[in-house]
Structure formats: structure tokens, C-alpha cells
Amino acid sequence: MSPPEATRLRGKVAAASRGRGGRPPGARRPGRLSDHGPSVWSVRHCGIRTSLRGARASATLDVMAPQRTETAERARDALTHWIRVRVVAGVLLTYLTVSFAIGDAYPFSTFAMYAESPREPWASHVLALDERGAAHEVADFVGYRCDRAPDLDRPFCGAGRDRRVGYIDAEAARALATRDHAAAHPRHLRVVRRGWNLSSPDLTLDCPIATCEASAR
């Protein structure tokens, strides 16, 4: 490329950067290009600067074409895509790094719920068993009147500990506390903590909590 031609091209680059001249009507404004060395182009796209090695040939095509050629469009799309990849990777890695560094602190979280395999041999759930022995959720009934205060915090009655879901137990405790509700057609219920053996889930064990009367919701 002769020196006068190079000067003319640099002028076109500058004009394109300023957004006037040399563009056909309707053509998009190109990203700013500046030569940073023999084979590195620095591109600023939407205020975010990046550089792409080896893009010189495509970028030159982009500058030289009086109309936007398909190759030039592809070259600019590739540059834009590269910027997008960097932005996306930056956000993703930053969120992950900060989350694992500081733990659960809004807006960061490692989403570690259910991450640990259960070490307990049992998993349990508080149930209300009706006269026929059919199992129901405790919250399916209201107006509980029990022979003793239901204590859901008692240790599991089987060999070994059980895994419980704290807020599910809390919901059951709230349902059992609805004693002031006027009970119509009360049913006889046995409130139990039923455990399933996690190695052999056909094996279940009922730990009695209280015997109650309550009405179907």
C-alpha cells in the first residue's frame, strides 16, 4: 500500500469514527478503529474497548469498501461477538467468584441448598394419620385438640438421625397450633413423624407425636 493511499485510508477511518462522510445512506456507523501495531486492532464498541489480533485484513476491507460488503459486515459482527463474549464471561465469572468468596450476601449466592448428600440414614415428614391409617398433610386439618402439646423438635425414634426440612416442620407446627378454630365434624387423628430409610425406602417407621381431633379443611 503506497503512503498516499494509506493516508487516504486513515482519513476514511477518522471520518467513519466521527460518523460523517463515506457512508452510504442507511449504513450503520462502524466501530472506531485504530492501529495498535502490526497485527492488532483496537475496537471500541459501545464504550467498551477491546482488541483483536489478526483482524487487520477484515477491518481494512471494511474501511476500503464504499458500500458495506458482506465480508466487512461479517468482520464487524465477529468483533462485536468477541466483545459480547468478553462481557458475558466477565459477568459470569465475577458473580461466581464473589459468591464463593463471600457466601450468601445479596445479590450474591452460591445456591448451595440441597448441595450436600444426606449423611442421615432417614428422611422424615410430619403426617396426620386418619382412622383408616391413611396419611395426610397436617395442614389438611384445622382446629387441632391434642392429648399433649405436639413437640416436633424431638429426636427421631429410629436408629440414627433423620433429615428434616425446617420450614416444612414449621408449617406443620403452625397448623397444629390452630386450636382455637371451631372444630366441626372432628376426626380422630394420630400425628406422627414418619421416617423413610434412605437406603431402603420401603422401610418406614412412625414416631408418635400426639393423638388429636381436628376437622378437615
Partner: protein, 233 residues
């Protein structure tokens, strides 16, 4: 943030916070480049989420997916502001959308990494899914969901296959924000995971599901095609 526990005791402070947050969110919805409005919505949402966690004694991670996506969007806007340029404002929104998708994806990759770090490959043992289904549902009920839950608890192979699907879907979120095809494929897998969880348990990540629906599919293109189809019919 435990200081915001005081918010839970009175109506006025949370109501004001919710009003400010909703106003800022509406403004941000109308002007997605309004960094200040987005940041205010994020702060108000954070204060409410933290106060709720303090009152309930447990964090509800559902809300964190919204926070992660909004943070990703705002991070790109802030980065753009820090740069000297103001050109191609429309393109900034597209970049910010990719930032939000990256934030959303990070939540799933984080969930996968947590499992890997806490349990390794043993997380794929059926005990995890059994404990989850038993703890959440007690395996009661007569509906199809309860029947499937009982089948999963009984079948080691089924439980392991479902856990493997969940792990693969969460890991594949690494690719989610990079291309449109990856968004559609991974987004569909993650939606299947959330809807499957809802069918089997009371656990529903509504915010994450809404975000996946919004970000995973090329809605402008699909909606632009819809009237043409109607016209042809």
C-alpha cells in the same frame, strides 16, 4: 444486613421500601438504560429480601435469581458509563441483556459448583432426591405428581437419571449466555427442571422460570412472525 430485622416488625418501612422499589423498577422497565433507577430497584429489593430472611430465619433463594440477572444488566451499563463513549446506545441494551443472561446463568453454574464442592459425585446417589421428595411432600396424595414422586423414591435408576439430568442442565448453563441456540437449548432444559420440580414438590422458582422464559427465546422474531402466520391463515 441483619440490621434490617427491624423492618419486619413494622408495616411502614417495608411498605415504603416496596413502593420505592416498584417505582424504580417501573422506571427501569421503561428506560432500560437508566442505571440509577435499576440500582435503586436492586437496593430496595435487596433490603426487602434481607429483612424477609431475617424475619423467617431462612433465605429464599428464589429472589436471588432476579438479583443476579439485574446485577448483570447493571454491571454492563456501569461499565459502559465508565468508558468514555456514548455511541450505539441501542447496542448497549443488547449487551446489557447478555449481561443479565450471564448473571442468570451464573446462579445455575453456582448451584452445580456447590454440589460438586459439597458432595462430589456422591450427589448423584438417589438418597439426595429421596430425602428431598420425602421432606417436601411426605409422599402423600393421590394425584399423578404424588404417584411419580413415589416411583422416583422407589427406583434407584430413575432417581439417579433425574439427578444426572439436573446436574447436566445446571452445568450447561455455562454456555447459556453466549449464543442464541445455547440459550434456547439450555433454557428449555432448565425450564423442564423447574416445572418438573413444581410437579413433584411445592417448590417453585417462579422468578427464575419467568426470567428463563424471557431470556431463552427470540421473542421479537417469534412475535414478528406470528401476524404473518395469522395473515396467511
Amino acid at each position: 444486613m441483619r440490621l434490617v430485622l427491624a423492618l419486619g416488625g413494622a408495616w411502614l418501612a417495608p411498605s415504603l421500601l416496596a413502593a420505592v422499589g416498584a417505582g424504580a423498577a417501573l422506571r427501569f422497565a421503561r428506560r432500560p438504560r437508566a442505571l440509577g433507577a435499576g440500582a435503586l430497584a436492586l437496593v430496595a429489593h435487596g433490603a426487602l429480601v434481607e429483612s424477609l430472611a431475617a424475619v423467617r430465619g431462612a433465605r429464599w433463594h428464589n429472589y436471588y435469581t432476579v438479583a443476579a440477572a439485574l446485577s448483570g444488566w447493571l454491571a454492563v451499563l456501569a461499565f459502559h458509563r465508565l468508558g468514555e463513549g456514548r455511541e450505539c446506545e441501542g447496542a448497549v441494551e443488547r449487551l446489557a441483556e447478555h449481561g443479565a443472561a450471564a448473571g442468570l446463568a451464573a446462579t445455575y453454574v453456582g448451584a452445580f459448583a456447590s454440589k460438586l464442592l459439597a458432595s462430589g459425585a456422591s450427589w448423584l446417589s438417589p438418597a439426595e432426591l429421596r430425602a428431598l421428595l420425602i421432606g417436601q411432600t411426605g409422599l402423600v396424595g393421590d394425584g399423578p405428581g404424588a404417584a411419580v414422586a413415589r416411583a422416583i423414591v422407589s427406583s434407584t435408576a430413575l432417581a439417579t437419571a433425574l439427578l444426572a439430568f439436573v446436574a447436566a442442565a445446571q452445568l450447561s448453563a455455562l454456555a447459556y449466555p453466549f449464543t442464541a441456540r445455547a440459550r434456547a437449548a439450555v433454557g428449555t432444559a432448565l425450564l423442564a427442571f423447574h416445572l418438573g420440580t413444581l410437579a413433584l414438590t411445592p417448590v417453585f422458582y417462579s422468578e427464575a422460570t419467568a426470567l428463563l422464559l424471557a431470556f431463552s427465546y427470540p421473542w421479537p422474531t417469534l412475535l414478528a412472525r406470528a401476524p404473518k402466520r395469522r395473515a396467511r391463515a
